[in-house]
């Protein structure tokens, strides 16, 4: 590891307020030209050699393919699958065909769920309502949810089995709130909304592109809408609670276990 690190010496960059690190470059004067010994081979390796040494390591393809698989499927691939993915990758070290093969694999569509990483969760909600990346807020919101892109907690990256705790749940709540925020319903739209709990739930589901919910989750949503509408003890409340409840339902759907996982 130390020898590889020496091979990677020589990079420099400037720091600019605002954009941060810029003008990333290799400066031979800062490179350690001496001999290194890596994986049993010796030479005056530089950064390109360092990459080649990793790629040519006999365990690289299986390690890489396995890691890629785990981003999509929570169970380990069976031996034939693992072998075919490896040989696909060995052919010319292209990543795309491997991802294609994983995305087409039945294990992706059946079997246990995975908790979505914050970036996937945020992107999924934005996509569901056809909204693009139009603000930088996603950076701090994802950070609140435990995943600031390009800043993993340590060199082994994020732990995909440990996304959710009480602090990151609050982060996801904020993500959901910010995604739907520009479209949140107001008093003006109340008259056009139904007052039936089931119909309110349907409307909120349509907002998110009609995701599939388990019947128990739907029942919890209907329960909320029924109780909240039941609190309306005056005519003006019966009208204005519709939009409040509709907004609340959108929020609840987005933070439900069904949408936190896939």
């Amino acid at each position: 590891m130390r020898e590889q690190a020496r091979a990677l010496t020589g990079f420099d960059n400037d720091w600019k307020r605002g954009p941060g690190h810029v003008n990333f470059r290799f400066d031979r004067k800062r490179h350690d030209e001496g001999g290194k010994r890596v994986f049993g081979k010796s030479g005056p390796f530089d950064w390109q050699d360092a990459v080649q040494l990793c790629l040519k390591h006999p365990q690289h393809p299986s390690f890489f393919v396995d890691k890629l698989w785990r981003y999509f499927v929570p169970t380990t691939p069976d031996t034939p699958t693992r072998r075919s993915l490896e040989s696909l990758y060995r052919k010319d070290f292209q990543i795309r065909p491997v991802i294609e093969a994983i995305l087409l694999h039945p294990a992706l569509h059946a079997g246990p769920r995975m908790v979505k990483p914050p970036a996937v969760y945020t992107a999924g909600l934005l996509r569901a309502i056809g909204r693009g990346v139009d603000t930088q807020a996603w950076s701090w919101l994802s950070s609140m949810s435990g995943q600031r892109l390009f800043m993993p907690p340590n060199v082994s990256g994020w732990d995909d089995e440990r996304w959710l705790d009480t602090a990151t749940f609050r982060g996801r709540w904020e993500v959901a709130n910010h995604v739907s925020r520009p479209f949140s319903l107001t008093e003006k739209q109340a008259a056009a909304l139904p007052s039936e709990p089931q119909a309110l739930v349907d409307g909120a589901l349509t907002f998110w592109g009609s995701p599939t919910l388990r019947p128990e989750t739907r029942a919890a949503l209907v329960g909320f809408a029924t109780k909240a509408m039941g609190d309306a003890d005056a005519n003006w409340k019966r009208r204005s609670y519709r939009f409040l409840v509709a907004n609340g339902l959108r929020q609840l759907i987005a933070v439900s276990p069904d949408l936190q996982t896939s």
């Binding site: 590891m1 690190a5 020496r6 010496t9 990079f11 420099d12 960059n13 690190h21 990333f24 400066d27 350690d32 929570p74 246990p112 769920r113 995975m114 908790v115 609140m144 435990g146 390009f150 800043m151 993993p152 907690p153 340590n154 060199v155 082994s156 732990d159 089995e161 440990r162 996304w163 959710l164 705790d165 009480t166 602090a167 990151t168 749940f169 609050r170 709130n177 739907s180 949140s184 319903l185 128990e216 989750t217 919890a220 329960g223 909320f224 109780k227 909240a228 609190d231 609670y241 409040l244 409840v245 907004n247 609340g248 929020q251 609840l252 933070v255 439900s256 276990p257 936190q260 996982t261």
Partner: protein, 461 residues
Amino acid sequence: MARCCNEHSRTDLMRRVAAEAGRGLPAIEAGMPMPAGTGLDRRSFLARSAGLALAVYGGSSLLPRAFEEGIAAAAAAGPQRVLVSVFLDGGADSLSMLFPSGDPLYRRLRPRLSLPASTGVPFAEDDRLRWHPSLAALATLHQEGKVSVLPGVGYTGPDQSHFTSRHFWEVGATNEKLRTGWLGRYLDRTGSPDNPLQGLSLESRLQPALATATMPVSAIDGPDRYSFSTRNVWGDVQTRLLEAIGSLGAIPTGGDAALVQATSVARQAARLREQLLPFTPKDDAPGFTSPVAYPQDEDDDFPRRLSGLAAMLGSGLPVRVVALTAPGMYDTHDDQPQELANGLKLTAESLLAFQRDLEARGLADRVLVHVWSEFGRRAKENGSNGTDHGAAGAGFLIGSRVLGQMIGEFPGLAKLDDDGNLRATSDFRGLYSSLLEQWLGADAEAIIPGARSFALPKLLK
């Protein structure tokens, strides 16, 4: 600002690696351990799920109204002792915190960095040592008999990697494979399946020392900051919406591990929110007030977190073990003096205010603070006005009940180890075992591997 070594900060690591590659990359060893609480294997993950599933189906206490029941249960159990773990991140320089002014080798090893004998207060228990001027607040508490100093705490076979050494301290063993924290294992044995506040990480991410296998724990920035708002939802409907988080947490999962996780967190969030409801600011009024003044700092929330903690304890919330990171950057490879002084000052003054706060609230007899760092620093200074990674370092126990006597002695500079580092005169695993047995009333053998093989220091008055 001083630069810490690349390996040091977990959060900033990748960025620093990119930024400082020209200076040589950090040595990160093969088999570097994962922090506790990460990378749970399938089996332990399922075991954890099963524990949480019990909580889901355990009865009425799972629903949002559980707040009163939780308080009632905690009150019925009587006031509980609390342990607060404060981490000096980066390997704090013990030879500056308590500097060996009376050791003839001190000025020879530290020609630039040595502090003059005219500064700081003498350390009453060893006339070779003086308190760093920035630790005056700790010196005051020591004088009152409320600080026990560990002048050379560490372990045999010291590892000079931040990752590895910190991991050892977090899991309470020199075992790279352990995935639960030592405080987490304590909660797994003695905790409650429906009280996330029992293990409290007072920052936005879980402190690995609190990582449990089965019991819920929580992470919050402050007791007054755990609120859930939604655009254009207010009044009665908002109340119902917040209740509904608890309903999401009660939806059956069919045993799917990811759904169990997503459901459990909704339930824990609902419960935690209810527990912290009294601290929610109302109409711009703060969520809590402190009987004493804490240091003010624009950049660091540490004093605020401690004052929030004292308020939570004052209200009787069932908090048992707490972990948080101290202000400051202690990986002082260069430009050490200012960086170190700033961090130590804010840390010590905040801890003094916290102690005074607890005293004012009548809680001081049941709270103990443990201050630690993953290692000390090399006795000999380096060429960039700083110090490099060492072995044994200093630790402190603070509280009205602590014995107020040194645990292990200052090892001196004449007998350094082969790398030029201080030798340990006490072992952190022995300290943990004593904390578990004498303070928390738990069986140390069941929590710290090989607890009986270490000397267990007497900690309390």
